[in-house]
Symmetry: C2
Subunit: 384 residues, 2 copies
């Protein structure tokens, strides 16, 4: 007798997979598809990272590591915080995880009792609300819009807070909107949350992918905060599945217990590869790519504006544009279908990111080269 | 204000980590330590697997895969079931996961409502009860002993079943006892569980590591069962973190949704490495190792018996001996401490595996060479 747990009724798939499936069908039939839906860099993993993995693999001694990760990698991440942001973060507080997904799971599992509410900006990364639900918490949407750069304000958090609220998650740079919080704004949110004895989780997964503004970390001003990060985006290591969590010291022992049972340990080859992620030769490659992303953004944004896509706030990070399509179409899902069928351009409709006017928004990722982006804009122009 | 979720009060760490820590301290001070506590093969990953990964990494295109895993790998696993066990398993039902831990998480998350009970043999793999608890289920111990080869019987399951029981987990070969279930016994347990509308999860993580008996899979007789497997143990790929889950077809879509949010996808390099795991050249290496494990077991078991360790049932699988120490010492934790301090031999006390007479049992892993195993027995003899 088939009977899934009740939580499954609330857990949605990534809707973009339908678009992706259609894109593959069209490609199989010979159509040229431009992928603007993909949430991962199109670049290969930097060569120093790949070579570090290949060197490590020689001999084949690929055994478990400690559950919290290799000491050398935790120390290297601590040095990154120190050297790049002037933040003193003890390696003891750094937990290496199977992707940022693993970090989110650990943070939510250690913090969430059944019935606890988490305030989540909407639109936001879809998995957040489903992970909250997986551990029997209640995701509660904080609708955000261009007037606050799609970020929640302390006043909004105060208004939404109830006796059941456990905390707030924010992302900077954010997916799908590409907007950032300033350090002062993060501190103000943390003060609000902390006055209510709540917890702030800051998603810094897209840290380093910022254009025209400096990158920052909550950790340069705050200790009593959970910070999620990843080797996937800036470091170009999506398929390796490696991220990290920085937790307040008092939670580390409980998180270690969960990490043992959830994962045993993070991928050993990925950890050895990541040891090369902070080397100057790698950073040089990554900074070049960052400039390339900035150029793509600077090419795509005006081209889309000319087509009638609206951006009331300029995204400054990640590799996403979250377009208001109300001047072009009634409904973003229909528009996404039109664009894939008529223009051969794949995009992600707003529905994946929540319930806050999703029909009016489309996420466009600039994870493909500038020439293709311009071609995409031309094809969209013809299709509309 | 530090406040972990209530579930954390029930989630224990791996206690063996304390022994391991002491072993490292002693080793650092110059002592020679023999590791009989380690739950992973001492062998390197087979060379064809390593080379497949290195080939794949050239070029660095390490991107996400589908959430359920590479189609080619799911098909290769289906072929393994067909060729080795004559079992017809559709690749659609095979979900590639970050280690068997990931498979256990997916199965328990899709099946467990808050308050649902899972019947778990005690002694058993420690993470099972903690994963049940993580998703707000209640782990319920089924005490098992040598009289039933440490495996539960249908009668015992019937007696323990309540209105809250969701299902039963069994393992064959089992950790920590190394005992197997026959196919007939698995089918009988499934019939019992299924009559109560419950679900059977079969842990086949140590499949292939069997000595003097043939390996089997529940899938050659059953479809309506969840089967967990791993590339870690027989295939020698612990640190790669790759396993799989076979689920009844009706659950696959829900599991896919969870896999997207929990993991995005399993490690891409590990999946490409695993494509070489079923090649004849790899299997030849693995079968040699299996013979080596059998020789170790055949050397260690009589040596320990001579020292007064009792084994009322002969373990036939995995790489563990679960010794009754009642003829030697009062308490297995004290004995483990004595053995590490006096003999430089690290073992795992029963406490890690549950509450069923843990003080009377010690797990001894033969994950080190025969000469070292004999030396360990001699050192233990002197220490006692």
């Amino acid at each position: 007798m088939t009977r899934s747990a009740r939580r499954m009724a609330d857990i949605q798939p990534f809707h973009v997979m339908e678009i992706l499936k259609r894109a593959h069908e069209l490609a199989a039939s010979g159509r040229d598809i431009i992928h603007l839906e993909v949430g991962e860099p199109d670049f290969a993993s930097p060569q120093p990272i790949v070579e570090a993995a290949q060197r490590f693999l020689t001999g084949g001694h690929v055994h478990y590591t400690p559950a919290l990760g290799l000491t050398a990698l935790r120390e290297a991440i601590a040095r990154l915080y120190h050297d790049r942001f002037g933040a003193d973060v003890s390696p003891e507080r750094i937990i290496v995880t199977p992707g940022a997904s693993g970090a989110l799971m650990l943070a939510l599992a250690v913090l969430t009792d059944p019935g606890d509410e988490w305030l989540l900006p909407d639109p936001g990364y879809p998995s957040n609300r489903h992970l909250v639900r997986s551990f029997e918490g209640n995701p509660r949407a904080l609708p955000v819009n261009a007037s606050t750069r799609f970020q929640p304000t302390p006043a909004q958090v105060e208004t939404a807070w109830t006796a059941q609220t456990r905390g707030l998650m924010v992302a900077s740079p954010a997916n799908p909107t590409g907007t950032l919080l300033t350090l002062d704004e993060i501190v103000a949110l943390q003060e609000t949350v902390s006055r209510r004895n709540g917890v702030l989780i800051v998603d810094e997964i897209y840290q380093g992918l910022n254009y025209g503004v400096d990158a920052c970390t909550a950790l340069s001003r705050l200790d009593d905060v959970f910070v999620v990060n990843s080797f996937s985006k800036y470091f170009g290591m999506t398929g390796w599945r490696l991220g990290w969590l920085v937790a307040p010291e008092a939670y580390v022992r409980d998180i270690e217990k969960l990490a043992q049972h959830f994962f045993i340990s993070p991928s050993t080859p990925a950890q050895h590869a990541a040891l090369a992620a902070f080397e100057p030769s790698t950073i040089a490659i990554l900074e070049e790519r960052r400039h390339e992303f900035a150029e793509r953004r600077n090419a795509l944004l005006p081209a889309l504006r000319q087509l009638g896509f609206k951006f009331a706030t300029e995204p400054q990070g990640a590799f996403y544009l979250y377009a208001d399509i109300s001047g072009i179409a009634e409904d973003s899902q229909s528009l996404a279908r039109l664009l894939i069928e008529e223009a051969g351009v794949a995009t992600t409709p707003g529905i994946d990111f929540g319930n806050n006017a999703p029909e009016r928004h489309l996420r466009i990722a600039y994870t493909t080269g500038s020439a293709r982006l311009i071609e995409a804009a031309e094809r969209i122009a013809r299709a509309l």
